[in-house]
Every structure is written in C-alpha cells, then in structure tokens.
Amino acid sequence: MDKQRRKFLKIAGASVVAGIGAPAIIKLSSSPAFASGHAAPAADHAPAADVHGGHADAHGAHAEEAPTGVRLGMVIDMRKMADNPGLLDNAISACIDAHNLPQFPDSKNAIKWIWKTPFENVFTDHSAYHASKKTAHIDFPALCNHCDDPPCCRACPTQATFKVVSTGIVAMDFHRCIGCRFCMAACPYGARSFNWQDPRPYIKKYNKNFPTRMKGVVEKCNFCGERLALGQEPACVEACKGTGAITFGNLNDAKSEVRAVLDKEFTIQRKPTLGTKPSVFYIV
C-alpha cells in the first residue's frame, strides 16, 4: 500500500512538473515565430528590439539614431485643418478603419483613439475668453499625447501599458490588461477608452491586419505602431497626405521634418504644466 502510494506520488509529482514546464517550452519555441510570422499584431507587445527593427525600416532617414533616442511625435497644423474642411473627418475614419474601432451609438461605450472636439475642451488651461473666430468655430483633434513621462504607465499595475523604448510610443498589451482602469483615471487627456462590452458586433468594416479587442480591456491610439513596422505612416497622417496638416516624426532628431516645423512655428501642447511632456503639438 505504502509503496503503491509512493509510486503514485512520484508519477503525480513528475506529471505536475512536466505540466508546469510544458507551457514554458512551448512559449520559448513559439515566440520568435510569432513575432516574425505576425509582425503587425506583435508590434504592440513584442520585445523592444523587434519593434525597433521594423521601425528602422520604416524611417530610413532616422535609422542612424541611437536605438534609445527616438521619440515619435506629431505637429497638427490647425490652419491647414481649417482650410480643408473634412480633412479631420478623413483622418478619424482612416483610424477607425485601420484599428477596427467599434462605433457604438451611445457616448457611454464610446471607443475613441482620435476624435474632434472644440478648442476649449482640448485646451482646458487656455482661456477661451474672446477667442478668435477660428478657434471658436473649428473642431480640434484630440488623441493620445504619447507623453515622454506618461502617468498612465506609472499607474498600470501590470505593465500592460508601457513606453516602447525604441520609439517612445505609449503602447498597450491588450492581452495583459486586467481592466482596472487605473490608467483612465491617471490620463489627464481623456485619451483612453474601455471596452465595456464586446466591441466586435459594432465594428463596421473589419480590417484583418489589426487585432480586434475583447470586452474588459483598455485601448487608445498607438501612433500606428503596427503600420510603422511595415514602413507605412500612421493612418491619420496618411489621410492628410499632401496638405501638411499633420507632420509626424522623431522629435529627438534635429534633421527630421517634424523638428523643422517645430523650429519654424509657434506650437502649443495640451496641459504642459502637468509635467507629462506631451509629444503632440498644435499650431493654432
């Protein structure tokens, strides 16, 4: 009896060890394959090196930058937006199509990555008292600022949202997010949305190149990390191509186009006093 029991325990113990070990073995062997085979969805949560590899291809001109020195950002020129009515709408729908953003009929469930709203809502610290006609009448785009010092990443208890070292993009790992919504409370820009229910039935046009999300996770603008990895521009930037309304690039590269615009024009950022160092600039 005793011997049998010991034997049983031995086998049981061995199988438990094997059971624990097996996933690790599978994981080790499958992860590189995953990263290369599905480059697009992996871009969000692949190791930094992989993302950077893709990124260097995307921005040949920036390839000489030190791997840690990239900080992607954009300048939005509201003069151009005002001259081209409908441009912002195009940019927004390009984003919706690129990222499988669900369109809920109510604002309670709204998933927004880039959206339009009046000046006084985007720039709450600026006075709208006797504001110029232009600021009073046109809508401004609001999106994640991809802060250099992001409070959302500080708040996240699982590192499901994090700054990608090689690009400065504030990214999300939809598979790690536990849905505590601490990041939503921490973001001073209201840039984050939560999937209060399954978003899939509300996706109008399904794009198979980007993962859909499940209920219970947070999401937000990812500066099109998946498109950058393929050498493409962010969807909203591409939608404004030729107008100069949105300039995108490496803020740390003195020779970049985005820096040329910043050197020339007076720009403002949202809530700069909070110390988050936003990477999105506006020319009003």
Binding site: C177, V217, L274
Partner: protein, 389 residues
Amino acid sequence: MIEKTLKGKPAYWIWLAFLGMFMAIGAACYVRQYNFGLGMTGMSRDVSWGLYISQFTFLVGVAAGGVMLVLPYYIHNYKEFGRITILGEFLAIGAIVMCLLFIMADLGQPMRALNVVLHPSPNSMLFYDAIVLNGYLFLNVLCGWVILTAEKKQVKPPKWIYFFVYLSIPFAVSIHTVTAMLYCGLPGRHFWLSAIIAPRFLASAFAAGPALIIIACLVLKRVANFDAGRKAMNKLVTIIIYAGLLNMFFVGLEFFVGYYSNIPGHMHALEYLFFGLEHHGHMYNNLVPFMWAFVILAFGSLALLACPIVKKDDFYLGLGCAGLFIAFWLDKGIGFVLAGFVPTPLHEIVEYVPTANEIGITIGVWAAGFFVVTVLYKIAIGVEHEVEG
C-alpha cells in the same frame, strides 16, 4: 473553534440565511456582468470608476478602523478594550474580504487578476495596495486566531505573536494611506490631487470603523448576551468624536484652499458635490442631496455623541454611531470617488447613476462581508462564553 459556527439560535440561522439570500442575488448579478462585461454598470468612458471602487475605498477605512482598538490595548495597555479587541480584528477581516471582492467585481478581466503578481510593477500604487491589503488580512487572521486560541485554552498568547500584533498597527495605517495614494498622485484630477487625502481618509476611518464596532457590540449585547462594558464603549465614543471632528476639519480645509485660491480646477468638484455645477446651461447636481445629508448627519451625530445621555442610553449611542457611519459612507463611499471624475479631462460633465445589476452586486458583497463578520463574531463570542462559563 470553527465548530462554534455550526451551533446557534434560530435567529442566528435566519440572519445568515437572510445574508445568504443577498449573496445569491449578488452572485447571480455578477454572472450577468461577467458574461456581458462591465457595460452592465452605469460606468462610462468618462466616469470610469463607480460604486465598486467607492465601496472599496470606504471599506479599506472600516478595516483600518480596527486599529483604534488594537493600539490602545496593546501599546497603552488599556485593559477595558480586552474583550472587544478581537471584534476589531475580525471586523477588519470582513472589511478586507469585501474590499477584495469589490476589486474583483470591478476588473474588466478578472481572470487576469494574478497579472498583478506575475508582472509586479513597483511604480503602480495598486501594486502596493495589493501587498498591504493582503498583508493586513493575513496579519488579522493570524493575530485574531492565535490570541483567541490562547484565550480558549486559558493560557497567555505566545510571545512571538506580539511581533505581528505590533506590525499590524503600521499596516492598518498603510492600507488607507496607500489607498489614498491611488487617487492623490494622479495629475489632472484636481479634486483628488490633494496632500490631505490620506490624513482625511484615516480620520474618517478612525471614526467610521469604531462606530461600526460599537453598533456590533450593541447588537451582540441584545442577541448574544455579550457585554462589551460601558467604559470601553465610552472610550470608543471619545475616539470617534475626535476622529470625526478631524475629518470635518479636513473637509473644511479643502473648501478653503479651493475657494480662497479661486482656482477653478480646485473648486469644480466641490461645487459639483455641494451646490451643483452649471455647464452649457445645464445644472449637474446629482450628488448634492447626498453631500448635504453627509454634512448634516455628521455634525448631528457628533453633537449627539457628545451628549451625556449617550454614556447611559444604548439607543442614543447606537443612533449616533449609525448616523456617523452613514455620514462618512456618503462622503467617502459615494462622493469622493465620483466627484473626482467631474469635470472630465476635457471639461465636460458626465454624471453617473449605478444600474440595478450593479447595486445587486454591491449589496451582495456587503452581505458577504457581514456573513464573514457574523461567523467570526460567533466564534469569538462562543470562546468568551466558554471561558467565562
């Protein structure tokens, strides 16, 4: 000692069945929420925390309040608290159980909760909150159980347990401090961004926790033939009054800073809470009745507790404690968390109203907490009766 929970008068079983019914309703509501998602609640993109997190915040305070018995008894050797210190520890266990349940109910992906452990993030306050809450739960279970076992055997508790008893005191302070830090370190949420949040939390906790213990003692006196002793109760009332007044003082300081500095961001949430906030011609004032009920109940109860009659009459004592407990629940369990989201980061105002399903889960969790406390108190009182009888 667990066998003591299995023997009781019909009233005991009816009470447990009553709680069990609400727990079952809560569980059914949770299944619905689990299947559909948190869209079952009244929370939205703009008010992303609701009843669950506000209950959690309040109950952390109730748990921390138990230290107002532990500290005088173990540090100052205040013997009168000898009979009821265990009640404070067991109440803390029930409160922490509720806290953890509320956190789980609030998660969008509860099956991934262990990610907090698997991917420890020392920069997140939630990481520390998980540590101190579970630590405090463990300490109270350990200390309560070891000391009660010693009492049952009528021997002195082992010396090593005192290390954990003393450790539980800073832990009690830490659970509420860290919970305050969840809020007060967030840029762009002006109402929460205040250094006085942690002291204010502690003050209201040290009033609300002991108030609930007094209510429990009064109930136990009637139903379980357990007398905590007048002297102990009166001392607790003194603690409650001072802590309660401190909380009201801190609330007043928030008003001063907001309104004297005249900085809109510092006034908006207070205005929304107490007077209603006008925005684009619409008046938003959902929480105004709750907040004035808080102020009136708090001052009324504190005044009542200061009256000499409370020292003799159980009814007025219970009334005062219940009033203060409800008042601070309105303040911290309703107003504090919700007002932090007003206005939104884009200066819009979105009001939150919980759904029936959400309220069902909330009541279910409260019932579960009371269930745990009832069972634990049954054990504690059973042992005391055994020792005395």
